[in-house]
C-alpha cells in the first residue's frame, strides 16, 4: 500500500471517479422524483425529495470511496 506507483494509481482513479459519482446520484434522484411527479401529478413534492435523496446518496458515495482508500 505504501509503494509509490500503487498509491499514485489509487489516487488517480479516486480523483477521476468522484465528480461523476456526485452528479450521477443527483441525476438519478432528480429523475426518479420528476418521473414520479408527472405520474402522480404532485409536481413540486416528489422531485424535491428525489433531489435531496440524490444529493445525500452522492455525498455518501464520495464518503465511502474516501474511507475505502
Amino acid at each position: 500500500m505504501t509503494d509509490e506507483p500503487d498509491a499514485f494509481r489509487k489516487g488517480l482513479s479516486f480523483a477521476v471517479r468522484i465528480g461523476v459519482e456526485l452528479v450521477a446520484s443527483l441525476i438519478v434522484g432528480g429523475g426518479l422524483g420528476y418521473w414520479a411527479d408527472t405520474y402522480f401529478g404532485t409536481t413540486p413534492v416528489l422531485i424535491s425529495i428525489g433531489l435531496f435523496l440524490g444529493m445525500s446518496a452522492g455525498l455518501l458515495n464520495v464518503y465511502r470511496t474516501v474511507s475505502r482508500l
Binding site: 500500500m1 482513479s13 438519478v28
Partner: protein, 249 residues
Amino acid sequence: MESNPLHPFELHPYGTLSLFGIDISLNKAVVMMWVVIALASWLLYRAGRERRLIPTRLQSLAELLVEFIKGMILDTMGEKGLRFFPFIATLFLFILFCNLLGLIPGSYTVTSQIVVTAAFALFVYAMSLVVGFALHGFRFLGILVPGGTPVLLLPLMVPIEIVSQLARPLSLAVRLFANMTAGHTILAVLFGMALSLPLWIGWAPFVFTIAINGLEVMIAVIQAYIFTILTCVYLGDAINLHGHAEGAH
C-alpha cells in the same frame, strides 16, 4: 476542413442492410469494433502461442497484463472473484483497445458513443445483480441497508441506498463516454484553430494538440482501468455482502 468539432462523432451507415426487419446496417463504429476484436485476439493469441520459459517481448507484455488484471481482481473481490477473470480481462482489453485505437487519426472511437458505454454499464450492473441474487438469495437485499444503521434511520437510508445503487450504471456509462468525447472534441477544436489561424500564431494550438494527444493516451488507459476496477468493485459487493472480502480494504 471541417468546421464542426463534433463532426468526427457522427455515424453514417454504409448503405442499408436488414435482417428480419431489424436494421443491421454497417457503419464505422461496427467495423471499428471488429478491428478491435480482431487485433486484441490476434495479439494475445500470438503472445500465448508458444509458452517459452524465457518469454518473448510480446509474451512478457501479455504476462504483465494478466498479472495486473489478476492483482486488480484480488484487491477488490478477493479469491472468490477469480472466476470472473475471463470476463474482466475481456472487458478491460476491449475498452483499452477501443480507446487507444480511436486515437489514430481517421479511425473511430467506439467508446465515444453513449450507446456502447451504456450497454456495457447496464450489462455489468445486471450481472452484479444476478450474481448477488444467485449467491445470497433475498439476503442480497441487505445491500440496501448499510451496516450499523439504527432502525429509526431505515426509512431514510433505504431510499438513499436505492438511489446510489441506481446511479452506478449511469456513472459508469457517462464517465467513459464523457471522457472520450471531451478529449476528442478538444483535439478537434485545437486542430481547427491550427488550420484556420495564420502560421505565425497557428503553430501554438498545433503544439498543444501534440501535448493533448499524449494526455489522451493516458486518459484512454486510465478510463479503461477505472471502468474495469469499478466493475470489479460492483461484482465484489455482490459476492462479498457488506464488504468482508479477505485482503480487500
